[in-house]
Symmetry: C2
Subunit: 179 residues, 2 copies
DNA sequence: ACACTCATGTAAGCTGTTACATGATTAA
DNA sequence: TTAATCATGTAACAGCTTACATGAGTGT
């Protein structure tokens, strides 16, 4: 599980945990969210599906299409469910790109309500740490930075603040719904 | 120039365009910005430096240290300057991760003021497009989305809005300074 | 005639990461 | 004595992207 990487493999498995799909279905689904998590081509999805099959995390059923190519629909197995649960239990790595968090957002809810809140709280902690780090850099600078570096830091601060605001709002809404 | 990739290679070359540095210097500099663009290890930086040397985009000077290992300081050549300018002239790919834009922020200013503003405006256009796409998805949904998907879209919208606000503010400040 | 959607897949490659190796010096 | 900083580098591999191949059907 190399750090800073996204693991499309587990995300695909997580999608199959929600409902059985074909590789093409998955690609179509991702095309709608392409800005948030990118939309991988056939060269990414199909090898993953085959690997999941070999690990017996999924099973296939082939539906021969009338007037269309046959669809191979993948269904998650018990072993697959265990694997995805174990994966969801461990926190998103701090260095992972934003889309790793979005993937969790999309999956965590179907696992349990508690893990969904936990995902948001973990992210909050990480973004807060990031925000503090950046502010420390700004303070510690004392003229040691040029205009571009200051801008980059300011940009980071602005985005971190906005994300914290969203996370707080969302966590509040979640708490209210629970009550 | 594979899409969606960052090209650390050109970023390193761009940093050397600002001032001669050793591989270790570059790593130290990046460690301070690790949240924004990550901090690559020796296994990433040193091979890049060697490749830049082989392409004659940089030259080396070895400074033998008293009580420390010798430092190899790299200086950009005319060929290197041409290469980085050509690279800066072409826009950041839309699918590229955020850190690709931060790298541009850090480099574009030293190339020309105009290219700096252009970088911001390009980003603005891309983020705006992203924002509109997301809103379209939300509108087109009509109940076809579950709670998690709605949240993911909302998250994307919040971040895109915040980034647009920052870009507009920064472009304003830039215009005022120019006047 | 051209291109696009449906649907799967292979092979090659790029970029970057990890783990390791070296070796001296300095701080806990 | 254990670890960290300074400073460079190699080798292996993970993860993903790209380009390509197939082939029927549908639209312009």
């Amino acid at each position: 599980m190399a750090a800073g990487r996204v693991s499309l493999r587990y995300f695909v498995l997580g999608l199959l945990a929600q409902q059985p799909m074909s590789g093409y279905d998955i690609r179509r689904f991702l095309r709608n969210l392409s800005w948030l998590i990118g939309s991988p081509g056939g060269g990414s999805i199909y090898p993953i599906l085959r690997a999941l099959l070999e690990d017996e995390f999924v099973t296939v059923e082939v539906f021969p299409g009338i007037d269309r190519p046959p669809r191979k629909v993948y269904t998650i197995t018990e072993a697959g469910k265990s694997a995805i649960q174990i994966w969801l239990e461990q926190p998103v790595e701090p260095k992972a790109p934003m889309k790793a968090f979005v993937m969790r957002l999309l999956l965590a809810g179907s696992y349990s309500q508690a893990s969904f809140a936990a995902t948001l709280q973990q992210r909050r902690a990480q973004v807060l740490a990031q925000h503090n780090d950046l502010q420390e850099s700004v303070s510690a600078a004392e003229g040691g930075f040029d205009r571009q570096q200051q801008m980059a830091l300011d940009y980071g601060l602005a985005l971190a603040s906005a994300e914290l605001a969203w996370l707080d709002l969302t966590l509040d809404q979640l708490a209210q719904r629970a009550a």
